[in-house]
Symmetry: C2
Subunit: 233 residues, 2 copies
DNA sequence: TTAAAAAACTGCATTATTTCACCTTTCGAT
DNA sequence: ATCGAAAGGTGAAATAATGCAGTTTTTTAA
């Protein structure tokens, strides 16, 4: 994450953020944003934004998978949501410019571009359609977590784990078979239960033929039945 | 909720929404908004916005207490948040103009004013500072629910109920003693547990002298110890 | 390559939570 | 004023979830 000699890892030409931005704002304005941007790479496990810190930049995540993490007063972690690129990260502070409420961490190797919040805000305030678009981007990340919370709030662990498996398959890995980016501990922090409970439950689903678990490799053999478990709670 | 003969229950002169709006937009523009508004009263229990419906208006809640309610596929309810006036209700749809994700119901008698979404959006798009202010209003309602979710996600029932008691005391009733607007069933839907568990736990806190429960009347005798229970989980 | 550390896993005792069956109180409508 | 429905409440059995103590497997770094 060295910034001494700003490195260029990828080309801006095919950047989605650029494409979308340039539908709303002038190329010259985008160039201003870009001149303040730095390309960064994060290894799996690295912290991108730290809870409690004041962040001066967003990150346009171009590649990779991240988690939003909240650490409570006892040091217990909760994963609020998991998102994959492309996404605009750090937006909880656009409307409400305070300290980061959550951390954002890479759970797979990531690359992206910092975006200066002050400058983006200035540009967006002069262009409501662009502002609107940015807000959509930001709330996307947020909204996905709502249904996870609902699942958490009134399903038991079986249903919650079924929900997470379906979510990962459909929204993150886009495949019935995937290699889990989360440790069992992290899975538990996402499901709001103990890691033992995650292990027991995955094993049970495995023994019932519902899924195949082999270390980090998971295959959903019967998504329909998983849906039923999710629904039943 | 008769709209045949639009009734005037209260005076617009001292309306907070008007005061705030007029800091950003012209009086004439506010008059346009107002001309499309209707003053409404809701009895405790009435539905203000219905989950799944397409809402053409926000409600500026001028007086009263409301709940955000999500009903799942099995008919189970979850209360996402509880808010008191003043608040701008229905904003989940401003950025993302779809159907209502949640219902909003009065849990105390309420009064407020409808606000035409299309017109408000049009005005806000022409005035970014106003748009920003409206977004702040809307996300306020949202943000308060986040910490309730965190509580839900990794505390046990004792801690969750302690959290809710503290929340109600500090954020809704602004007093250590209050008359609960929720039934035990609703309390359970907020705490994400069974109503029996709510009753048992309130009784336990009562027996320990932590709180005094007498039907709907609740007094927090020892908020500090309650905080400790909340913290310990 | 190997030793140490971290993560995955297991079964079980303990604790938390739900569910059920049933009783009592409160409240609103006739 | 009375009936019936809804809400509040109780205790106990059944179920779910956690936390522990220990083993195995995988990963990491020297």
């Amino acid at each position: 994450m060295s910034q001494i000699n700003p490195q260029r890892y990828f080309d801006c030409e095919d950047c989605l953020f650029r494409t979308i931005s340039c539908q709303y704002i002038q190329k010259e304005e985008f160039e201003k944003l870009r001149s303040k941007s730095v390309q960064l790479r994060y290894k799996k496990g690295e912290v991108i934004l730290k809870q409690g810190a004041k962040s001066t930049h967003f990150l346009f995540l171009r590649k990779g998978i991240i988690k939003f993490n909240y650490e409570d007063e006892n040091g217990k972690n909760l994963i609020l949501s998991i998102n994959k690129a492309p996404a605009l990260i750090g937006g909880a502070n656009l409307v409400n410019a305070e300290f980061n409420l959550f951390s954002v961490c890479a759970i797979e190797d990531c690359e992206g571009c910092t975006i200066d919040v002050a400058l983006l805000t200035r540009i967006a305030l002069g262009n409501t359609l662009y502002l609107f678009k940015m807000l959509q981007f930001i709330t996307d990340v947020f909204r996905s977590s709502i249904f996870n919370f609902i699942s958490l709030a009134h399903k038991q662990v079986n249903g919650r784990i079924a929900d997470i498996l379906i979510f990962l398959s459909q929204n993150i890995y886009m495949n019935d078979a995937f290699v889990l980016s989360l440790s069992r501990q992290e899975f538990a922090e996402f499901a709001g239960c103990s890691k033992e409970n995650v292990i027991h439950t995955l094993r049970k689903f495995h023994n019932e033929g519902l899924i195949t678990v082999e270390g980090k490799k998971i295959i959903l053999n019967d998504p329909e039945r998983l849906q039923k478990i999710s629904k039943h709670g």
